[in-house]
Amino acid sequence: MSPAAILRTVVLAGAVAALEIACRTGAIPPTMVVAPSTMLVGAVEALDDPEFWRHFGVTVEAVAIAMSIAIVGGFCTGFMLTRIPPLRRAVSPFLASYYSIPHLAFYPLLIVIFGLGRAPLIVLATLFAMVAMILATMAGLDRVPPVLARTARIHRLSLLSEIWQVRLPAAAPHILSGLKLAVAYSFIGVIAGEFIMSTEGIGHEIAYAYDNFNNRRMYALILIVLALVTTFNMTVFAWERRMLKRRGL
């Protein structure tokens, strides 16, 4: 392990231990934060509960659909915009400000349009996640060295194989960071929507536990969601590392 990794592990472990001690000694009341060990036990209990898996499945399904549409659609849109500079110049200030818009305000409208159920949540999450992917795709494609594009032209690659074999791999680091953001934003969209108005899903369960002062369950569920997202991101990160290493970077 590198010194930085050791330092990081020590600091994080120290923080968790400090929190544990503060909670155990009562310096932090359990009405605020429950001890990390209690969170862990609660999480294990939740994982044992079939009811949890139903809510979990509902949320993950919505996130997976939203994420897939956002990633594919975002990439295609981003690619198209880099090909049409005037359109891009017109749209980019709006894309840059996109994440300041309170998307959740449109959730009730989506319910009216798409009916109660999972559809408005999925649409909300897709809208939320897609622009991160568009921005990342454009940033990635912008940074493809011109020499690679020229090489592709010399080899008379078709547009599709130029994209697949040259542009996509060259832009991969940025596109992957967009992918990670798209995952996070899909989760935010779905879970925030479930917080506000929903009868099932992890977001609803967290809000329900909060309303009932069931801190143990609430922290356990939050821990599970965060662990899931972090594991996913780490996997993408490890894949990215391996890919860069293979290219000798």
């Binding site: 590198s2 010194p3 930085a4 990794a5 330092l7 990081r8 600091v11 994080l12 009405t31 605020m32 934060v33 005037p86 110049r89 017109a90 749209v91 200030p93 709006f94 840059a96 400000s97 994440y99 300041s100 818009i101 309170p102 959740l104 305000a105 449109f106 959730y107 009730p108 409208l109 009216v112 349009i113 990670k180 953001l181 995952v183 996070a184 934003y185 989760f187 935010i188 879970i191 925030a192 917080f195 506000i196 108005m197 977001g203 967290i206 809000a207 909060y210 801190n215 609430m218 922290y219 939050i222 969601v225 965060l226 997202v229 972090t230 991101n233």
Partner: protein, 269 residues
Amino acid sequence: MTVAAEPAAPGARPLTAALGALRGPALVTLAVLVMWQLAHELAGDVAITAPAPTLAHLVEMIGQARFLPHLAETAMAFGQALLIAWMGGVLIGLCLGGSRLAGEAAEPVLVTLYSIPKVTLYPVILLLFGLGMQAKVAFGAFHGIIPVALFTLNAVRNIPAVQIRTARALRLSPAQRARHVLLPAALPEVFAGLRLGFSLTLLGSMLGELFASQRGLGFLLMKAIDLHDVETILAIAVLISVFAVAANMGLLAIDRRLRRGAAPAGHGA
């Protein structure tokens, strides 16, 4: 600053350039309005009210005395959160970026924090800060501070080593080093972080107002959702969106100037 040293173009050119720059956004605004009107025609008043009455409703609402305290509350929460996020983020970034080991140790943690769905943590923030202004400010600042810190950290790390060596040769104190070497060299990238932090802080404070608050635009939104007052929902959404887009365009313009100034700055200003 190199920004001020730009040659003054002959009178008419900046105006046409400005008009040209405005044409794209104007067209997009028009397209949004047309799409809005079309959606209204398709879905009807129950789902989406038409643009003109909604905007009229917005103007009327802003004129009402009872609307202003809500606006002030939101502006207050957002302003405080932004201040904390910007100053705190730059400070954290400078500290971590100043030491190679600290930067390397902290970056993955910051990246992880940046990419987790922070909305899940809102109940925790509510428990820690109680219902009210503090929770909103904390949640907004929590959203914004991480990207600002990350960008500042990277900016400081990418400063050419020769500048840092010069600072050491001149025996600058840490404060002087930050003020005269690190900050100017890192400014363009730090500013990109500030811009991102602005958007995310706004998002965070809006989210904070939506879930648990008794005042502010977010509260008005939730009340309108409960009453199914589509006109008010849209009017507030438009108000916030216009503010966000306008502020962001302003920041983008400054961003571009800083970058343009940064390129030939080798020989200093």
